[in-house]
């Protein structure tokens, strides 16, 4: 249809149409612009953080060689020559099939034979090893330092038994949890945000005649007044309490208006929605073995199998140090329930499955029932054990072994909203029980790796911190995504100062705001 004179006239008239907006419009616009710009900035930061974390994870995983990948002779030769254990080098040709004099690991691979590996006298053994070592080897300063560190390590271990240490940890952490809970309870106050969300309902009830700026303001103001009086009654003296109560009565009796009814309805609705909400959470990241303050050691590659002889060493003078522990993949998934205790604070618990892995370098695989001396007490008979990679008879036999830990955990997290944006900081504890593992432990007395669940602390307490941004907050299924760190507060191995840690990206999804 060709536009006629009529349309032109209408358009001209409509171009003249001019209104003056009410004064609150501009402040609202200004506030929204600021909020949205802040949100964009934050999203950009979260994206960068996630990118960095993802890149880091990829890099760490990339630097690790695949499980069971044999090491080329050249690489190892290069490595061994370059390492501190140069003097200890066990040349493949010499050791293969030979008896290493004085060293009780005789004959290299002995299949189907029961053999006792007895290495009671460390000094004697060292002498023997020295005899077998390349003649040119001298006791360097480095070696002395290393030995000193070993001795120190063993002394510390002897002084602080693992069980006692665990107790201390529990005592330290429990009050923190309680304190955090108490804070949560203190902060409990009615959420006014929910009333804001209920604005459309209020709109429809009082229809269009009221100016928009006033509409949501009234119930909110009343709610705020109520909050203030409640606060006063909580903190003030008895006299003040009485006055406040009177004031409260007055306000309720004087204004039984429709607005009050709306406010009461919305607060009731808010109470209903503040019940438990169900959800699922998934975490993907890296895990590793931290030692004290060194939380994030490097990934394990064939080029850096051995950091220093002290790494993970249990006791004393070990000419063959255990492999460095590299990072591995970690995963977690679980069911959570969450409850709001206030406008900004909520707590959650649930049931999770956690998988952690680390990697170590091992040598030749030995079969046959063998008694291996434990780090400090008794012997354990094992069917399979692995020699130290450095003592491995064949270079080709060296490989990366992935220690895998399967835990079932009960987390308890506190979540606090930061500012006006849907960004949440979480902190909490997680009690985890190891249900299965294939982890190898190192015997510094016999220089072998073996499986021994008794050597591990199956019950672990993890401390968690995280930062989460909520997407689709107004939808039924909001999704929280962000980085999370977890650190095992107790030792993983009873005789080894090492703690499991995990770092990754967590995604949590609420399964609708249903009451349980």
């Amino acid at each position: 249809m060709q536009q006629s004179e009529f349309e032109k006239r209408v358009r001209e008239k409509m171009d003249e149409l001019n209104f003056t907006p009410s004064p609150p419009v501009w402040p609202h616009i200004e506030k929204q612009i600021r909020q949205k710009k802040d949100r964009r900035r934050l999203l950009a930061w979260i994206f960068l953080l996630a990118l960095a974390l993802g890149g880091g994870t990829w890099w760490m995983l990339e630097t690790m060689t695949d499980k069971g990948q044999p090491v080329t002779e050249g690489k190892i030769r290069e490595k061994v020559e370059g390492s501190e254990v140069k003097g200890d080098k066990v040349e493949g040709d010499k050791v293969k099939g030979d008896k290493v004099k004085g060293n009780e690991v005789e004959g290299g691979e002995i299949e189907g034979r029961t053999e006792n590996i007895v290495t009671t006298d460390v000094e004697e053994k060292n002498t023997v090893v020295k005899e077998n070592e390349v003649k040119s080897r001298t006791t360097t300063e480095k070696e002395k330092v290393t030995r000193g560190r070993y001795e120190d390590g063993s002394e510390t271990m002897a002084k602080v038994p693992a069980a006692k240490n665990r107790k201390t940890v529990t005592r330290d952490t429990e009050p923190q949890g309680e304190a955090a809970l108490n804070t949560g309870r203190k902060n409990t106050k009615p959420a006014t945000e929910k009333i804001k969300q209920d604005k459309p309902a209020a709109d429809t009830q009082s229809v269009v005649m009221t100016p928009p700026a006033e509409l949501p303001a009234k119930p909110l103001e009343e709610e705020n007044k109520k909050e203030e009086t409640t606060k006063e009654t909580e903190t003030g003296t008895a006299k003040e309490t009485a006055t406040a109560k009177e004031t409260q009565k007055e306000t309720t009796t004087q204004e039984p208006s429709a607005d009050t009814a709306v406010a009461v309805q919305s607060s009731n609705r808010q109470q209903k929605t503040s019940k438990w909400t169900k959800g699922i959470s998934v975490t993907v990241g890296v895990s590793g073995m931290g030692e004290g303050l060194q939380l994030f050691p490097r990934g394990l590659t064939m080029d850096n199998l051995y950091n220093s002889p002290s790494t993970g060493g249990g006791s004393g003078v070990a000419p063959l140090p255990p492999s460095r522990v590299g990072n591995g993949f970690s995963f977690g998934a679980g069911y959570t329930i969450k409850r709001n205790t206030g406008k900004r604070l909520s707590y959650s618990t649930g049931l999770r499955y956690n998988y952690y892995s680390t990697s170590i370098a091992i040598g030749t695989r030995h079969l046959g029932d063998t008694s291996i001396p434990r780090n400090t007490w008794g012997y354990v008979t094992v069917g399979v054990f692995y020699s130290n990679a450095l003592a491995s008879a064949s270079f080709d036999a060296r490989r990366i072994y992935r220690n895998q830990y399967h835990f079932v955990s009960v987390p308890f997290d506190l979540e606090m909203k930061l500012g006006d944006i849907p960004l949440y900081a979480t902190t909490g504890l997680s009690l985890q029980y190891m249900v299965a593992t294939n982890a190898l432990v190192y015997s510094p007395r016999s220089y072998v790796y073996y499986k021994d669940k008794e050597a591990l602390n199956r019950l672990q307490l993890f401390g968690n911190i995280g930062l989460h941004y909520t997407f689709f907050q107004k939808k039924k299924t909001p999704v929280q995504v962000g980085p999370q760190l977890g650190y095992g507060l107790g030792r993983l191995e009873k005789q080894n100062r090492s703690n499991l840690f995990t770092a990754g990206i967590t995604a949590r999804m609420a399964l609708g705001k249903k009451r349980i």
């Binding site: 006629s4 009529f6 349309e7 710009k37």
Partner: protein
């Protein structure tokens, strides 16, 4: 201050410039929003949302057209989105049984009333008619574009507009006659 500089200052985040831009366009833009909604309050809500979009997307304005036109397009889009989202208006975008088409004596009658009165007449149009009339007659969209915007057939837009136009002309003529009669009576 020229618009170039004003936009640049707004992009730098200067609050004074942002307020100046708002004050410059808020009045006519509220008029645009008013034509699409049923209350001043709703119109102000749309205006607020629209201006937030304007400031957040101002970097996309390349001075290829008029700034006022660009802002106006944002306001129209925001108004349509508001109608689609808001449950109170959803029914109005559903096109019901069409009322009988009235015969129009004069195809393009004179519009003697003021802008506000005419806008109020447009707002009294039956469900769906108001939006289509605004989009076609005032904004200058063609029926294919309107069909895409509202998710309806081009033919539906065309027929709805014809009816809206006829109805509005009828009301305008009626008003013009009333004015004539009252003027005669006073004489």
């Amino acid at each position: 201050m020229d618009q170039h500089r004003l936009v640049k200052d707004c992009l730098k985040g200067k609050p004074a410039a942002q307020k100046q831009l708002y004050e410059m366009f808020a009045g006519p833009m509220l008029g645009v929003c008013y034509r699409y909604t049923k209350s001043v309050a709703d119109a102000e809500d749309v205006l607020q949302e629209g201006f937030v979009k304007v400031f957040l997307n101002l970097h996309q304005f390349k001075f290829e057209g008029e700034l006022g036109g660009w802002i106006r397009r944002i306001m129209v889009t925001t108004s349509i989105n508001f109608l689609k989202k808001n449950s109170r208006y959803q029914a109005e975008l559903i096109f019901p049984e069409e009322p009988p088409l009235h015969a129009v004596n004069n195809d393009s009658p004179e519009v003697r009333m003021g802008a506000r009165e005419l806008a109020d007449l447009i707002r009294q149009l039956p469900p769906g008619y108001q939006t289509i009339f605004n989009l076609y007659a005032v904004e200058g969209f063609n029926h294919i574009e309107i069909g895409k915007i509202l998710g309806i057939q081009e033919s539906t837009s065309r027929s709805q507009y014809a009816r809206a136009r006829a109805l509005l002309i009828q009301w305008i003529e009626q008003q013009n006659n009333d004015v004539k009669t009252s003027a005669y009576a006073t004489k």
